[in-house]
Symmetry: C2
Subunit: 409 residues, 2 copies
């Protein structure tokens, strides 16, 4: 009998976004004349920058000529892209192109990284609450989480609560976690981490031999000069941290698909006999066995992000969404709501007004203002009573959404 992975049965049935979709569809069917504005899912809306499109057109033409045709590329990505990333995104940080692994998405990398770590509870995992659900669900699948309680909290995980009370910076725990997921700028709260705060985590990791999985997918949205863009700005982070980055949000790649992961040389994990094993060696083996590299066309597009025109155009894209974030922040503040994030991050996190639960507010916003956001409780128990609005939409829609919210609430 082919036996299935039993751990899948521990997953909570309703992943957040399908449930949102269900409620939106039901409302739309009952109210076909209403136009709904979606500020829920963090998906980009603006056109792909010209420099990127031009590079991809050229790459397709190359594939049409026998002399310039390219078949299988290096599993870890072409040097032209890894070198551009190292030179631009990690300038002065001593990250070499060899330490960069190109992939088709941070969601994939965040999940697949568990392949190289011991499973079935051999590592104690810490996640923030609220949290990007992928970190939790992939650990459930790997057998690291155990069953969930009635609040949806898995008994095998350490939860680090991030609420207004602690300024969305979870306390460094007393307990020892072997693997800690950190996401800054944060999804969903929009909080950023100071250098001092990240240094505390690096010290914690060194003390316990922990691995930090640092998700920097939204790093391009950081505007303040003193906010670290990379975990490697912290001394010692190369010895304890993997960093995930993506082209999805800064370059409009959610449908194009390109991301990368940094695994520093010298970063190790421990085998059961105590041997220190370089994680880069394991990740390289994982990727070359289970992955065949990102489309050449897409890699050329990603490399164009680092051209002069690409830097200008993606900079404008980021500025555009950040202006949306500012409008949402200020618009809701003017309505006397408690609003967080949205300054160095494309997400605005707010306290639901009037004591509504997250889903009550979701329904109120949907039915009264015809605006869709994301209930905080969908990101974890500590997200109850909060709500996320995304800055990824057209200016027109953002302004209209704010007017509707003002009129309805």
């Amino acid at each position: 009998m082919a036996r299935v992975n039993d751990h899948f049965r521990l997953l909570k049935a309703g992943y957040l976004f399908p449930e949102i979709g269900r409620r939106v569809r039901a409302f739309q069917e009952a109210n076909p004349d209403k136009s709904i504005i979606k500020l829920g899912i963090g998906d980009v809306t603006e056109p792909l920058p010209a420099a990127i499109r031009e590079a991809m057109h050229a790459a397709i033409d190359e594939l049409g000529d026998r002399d310039t045709f390219r078949g299988y590329g290096p599993e870890k990505g072409y040097p032209f892209l890894r070198e551009a990333i190292a030179a631009h995104d990690f300038k002065g940080l001593n990250v070499s192109p060899e330490e960069i692994y190109i992939s088709d998405g941070s969601k994939c990398d965040c999940g697949n990284v568990l392949d190289i770590l011991a499973a079935n509870g051999a590592n104690k995992i810490a996640v923030a609450d609220p949290v990007y659900p992928v970190y939790v669900d992939t650990n459930v699948m790997a057998g690291n989480a155990g069953p969930a309680d009635e609040n949806g909290r898995y008994e095998g995980l350490i939860y680090l609560e991030a609420t207004a009370e602690n300024d969305f910076q979870p306390a460094i725990p007393e307990a020892k976690a072997d693997v800690v997921y950190l996401c800054y700028p944060n999804n969903p709260t929009g909080a950023v981490a100071s250098k001092e705060y990240l240094a505390e985590w690096v010290a914690y990791a060194k003390r316990h031999g922990s691995l930090l999985l640092f998700d920097a997918a939204y790093t391009a949205f950081i505007k303040d000069a003193d906010v670290p863009r990379s975990i490697y700005e912290i001394d010692g982070a190369r010895d304890c941290a993997i960093e995930f980055r993506s082209f999805s949000k800064n370059a409009g790649f959610t449908g194009v698909r390109c991301a990368f992961t940094v695994v520093p040389e010298g970063l190790t994990g421990t085998a059961s006999d105590g041997t220190e094993i370089p994680l880069a060696k394991l990740w390289d083996r994982r990727q070359s066995t289970k992955f065949n590299g990102v489309s050449y066309i897409v890699q050329r597009g990603a490399a164009a992000v680092y051209s002069e025109a690409g830097q200008r155009q993606t900079g404008e894209l980021v500025d555009f969404y950040m202006e949306n974030a500012r409008l949402i922040r200020e618009g809701l503040s003017a309505l006397r709501m408690d609003v967080y994030g949205g300054v160095n991050a494309p997400y605005v996190w707010l306290k639901t007004p009037g004591g509504d639960s997250s889903w009550e507010f979701f329904d109120r916003l949907l039915t009264k203002a015809n605006v869709v956001g994301t209930p905080g409780a969908g990101f974890g128990a500590a997200g109850e009573g909060y709500f996320r609005l995304s800055a990824f939409n057209s200016r027109e829609n953002v302004i209209a959404a704010l007017e509707r919210i003002k009129a309805a609430l």
Copy 2:
């Protein structure tokens, strides 16, 4: 302490193709004036067909316009592609678009499918010998293989020997395997399976509750009308088989990246408490949690394979490589070599002449004829004494390689 996946340490260090690369580089450095012809790795060489390029150009333009921009797509792929696949590749076979999952490569799918199955030896795995190394290595990583003996055979796996003696059709084993990997047309032997033979496997799977993982990446190269193109041509296969397909070889997508997997509705595996769990539900959850879909541009390119022009152009591509295969087969037969495959498959498999070991013949071919092939022993113990030549090259190179082999051996 972050603990690593100990199973990685059981992997044989030298994956086949890096070792080939090492020897070729060493020879080239010692002989910089020699031009080497590579018939080793199964990578395509001919230009990407025009219909595919046109569709991808158009898709890029769509992404450049706010009104037609597309962000995140469905994780399982766009309906336009899944519907085209169902209509063309599974005509008359009752495979619905909903059962098709688009991915960025069959290598990924063959590896990732283990995520939904119980690991650490809970399933007994059977593989052919010789075999595509990814099936074995991913099972080593999942803890299903145990340690290897001096021939590189893992003690936890069931090996199904395919040699000239059994016409490269392994005997159906007495032992019960929970999961069986089948690859037809076969990599590396070029053998195909008859309907009767596959029906025996389906009967075996039904008897034991086994899952068949059917890799049909080379199905487009089948020319004989009576050779099945899909496992679903066999009655009952929908109850016991997953099928993997790829655009890599028929459409020249090794650098473009697109493939798909069929998980029939109603196909189940067993949980530890005996409950039957639909595998499609698990695979859908796996893909939506750890994957974000294939690039929209690439999916448009793949859909163009099914246009009238695309069918004609990819048909010509397949014919071109198959003419190479015929030339290799007949050229080596004329040299009185024992040659197999190459009729319904792009690989020619030969008995090494003069009693050479696989690697001895590799070295002889490299140094005397400056031609690179793949040593059969690299695919498993039963591949010793065999050698693979790939039909993926230009006509000119294939003809030159044959002349060199004739002159040198």
